[in-house]
């Protein structure tokens, strides 16, 4: 393990068109020393997982404000596992009700970051929990 930067994919699955939060996070993580791949709006689970595979990221961060997280997030986690990427850390953020968090974690999400989370909190969590690998 070298001291290379961690690589993070910030993705917006589904149909909501609000990516201000995702961009703020991408910029914030850049300033924390991460290499951040941003893929833009309206991504299907397959597009996100393929990007994660090709970019060989350590972390996939999903930003969802549409309310479709209970469909999209487990689908993405399952696809990642299916394609051999069960060592990739998955986090979610956006508008996600507390009641949904346990089910998402059950499905493979490591953390859910709601409104009010600071960039530093996210960065610290990623540094502490992302896989260390060759």
């Amino acid at each position: 393990m070298t001291d290379r930067p961690l690589k993070v994919l910030i993705a917006k699955p589904g149909l909501d068109g609000h990516d201000r939060g995702a961009k703020v996070l991408a910029r914030g993580l850049r300033d924390e020393g991460f290499e951040v791949v941003y893929t833009g709006l309206r991504q299907t689970p397959d597009m996100i997982v393929t990007a994660a595979l090709q970019e060989d990221v350590d972390v996939v961060g999903l930003s969802i404000l549409s309310g479709a997280h209970m469909t999209l997030v487990p689908r993405i986690c399952a696809l990642l596992r299916e394609r051999g990427m069960d060592d990739v850390l998955v986090t979610a953020g956006g508008i996600i009700p507390d009641d949904d968090v346990p089910a998402l974690k059950e499905g493979g999400v490591a953390a859910v970051f709601g409104p009010g989370t600071t960039i530093a909190q996210v960065a610290d969590f990623l540094r502490a929990n992302a896989r260390s690998r060759d």
């Binding site: 290379r4 951040v36 791949v37 833009g40 060759d134």
Partner: protein, 350 residues
């Protein structure tokens, strides 16, 4: 003594493990395993021992792909043009890989890699592989691993490798030593004739594209470029390589206008490159690759344990003006020539 031997044995075990891992990744990647290919690219980017073993194998089977460099100022439309080229290449059924470089922060080392946003229409196409890379402190428009990453894609059987540089200014010309064909992308109204006669980026172009062709002034910009470039001498002067005579094309990458013509021009250049014209490019690339490894090796060795205390003493002498930097550098070179560092051992092992 015993400790030294233990470390040496450890080193040998590490080297064997790296070689085994490299073989495993290469076998899988060459058999079409995309995840193995991605892991290989990560190793190359992080310049691990696995990468070196893998690249020694892959360089020998590379050399068939067309390496196309896409460079130009930020916002000219490089990523959008790459996406348009992917579309055109896929229509012809040709597998295409992309290495897209964006700048790393000189302050934190972080980066936002945003080139993919324009290319996501092909995200799930099996014949397309897009890899973003941060420049990681390397100047010149690429990252230090870009050329090696292109070789990996080449060996893995991609017909075309598109290399997109960071947004460049006037003098980041490294891509020309990496690619077979260098495309410089300009936007309309980016400058007058004086810009076209300045030394630098335009001199390394095999093709110049004025993108955003639907904007006013696009054809005038192309005309100005063409007029100024038509004064380029035909013959090489006093031992310099012969000047290039790039065509100037107008595209609108966002709609695809002019992109088929661009691909046709690229294919024509490819045919030329496979003849004698490309010999200079290929030699220049080989030279750049060797120099890059040599410079890494020298740095490694200069930092090796044996040299370190002496280097520190030299540093102090130079800082105190007791010794000049030239003499210090010469002493270090003599020291390196005298003793084999870790890099020399690694070379002997394989």
């Amino acid at each position: 003594m015993t400790e030294t031997r233990a470390i040496a044995l450890d080193g040998a075990a590490d080297a064997a493990a790296a070689a085994a891992r490299a073989d495993e990744l290469c076998d899988a990647a060459l058999a079409g395993d995309r995840r193995a290919l991605a892991r290989l690219l990560t190793a190359v980017e992080n310049r691990t021992p696995v990468a070196e073993v893998a690249l020694r194998r892959l360089y020998r089977i590379a050399g068939h792909a067309q390496l196309i460099g896409i460079t130009g100022p930020p916002g000219a439309g490089k990523s959008t043009l790459v996406a348009a080229l992917i579309a055109e290449l896929r229509r012809a059924g040709r597998p295409v890989a992309v290495v897209a470089v964006d700048p790393s922060s000189p302050i934190t080392g972080g980066a936002v890699l945003g080139d993919r946003v324009r290319m996501q229409a092909y995200a799930t196409d099996d014949g397309v592989f897009i890899r973003s890379m941060a420049s990681r402190g390397h100047s010149g428009g690429l990252s230090s691993a870009t050329s090696a990453a292109a070789a990996v894609f080449d060996a893995a059987g991609f017909d075309v490798v598109l290399i997109e540089t960071v947004g460049t200014g006037q003098s980041e010309v490294e891509v020309a030593a990496t690619a077979d064909t260098t495309v410089v992308v300009e936007a309309p109204e980016m400058g007058d004739e004086i810009q076209a006669i300045k030394a630098g980026l335009l001199e390394v172009a095999d093709l110049i594209v004025v993108n955003k062709g639907d904007r006013p002034g696009a054809h005038r910009t192309a005309g100005q470029l063409l007029a100024m470039l038509s004064d380029t001498p035909r013959e090489a002067r006093s031992g310099h390589p012969a000047p290039k005579h790039p065509d100037v094309l107008v595209t609108t990458a966002a709609t695809g206008d002019g992109v088929a013509e661009l691909l046709a021009a690229l294919d024509r250049h490819r045919s030329a490159v496979h003849g004698t014209v490309g010999e200079t490019t290929r030699l220049a690339r080989a030279e750049a690759q060797i120099w890059s490894v040599l410079s890494d090796r020298l740095h490694e060795r200069a930092r090796s344990i044996e040299a370190a205390p002496i280097a520190a003493a030299l540093l102090r002498s130079v800082a105190a003006h007791e010794l000049d930097p030239y003499a210090a550098a010469d002493q270090l070179l003599e020291l390196m020539a005298g003793r084999g560092g870790p890099a020399a051992e690694a070379g002997e092992r394989s």
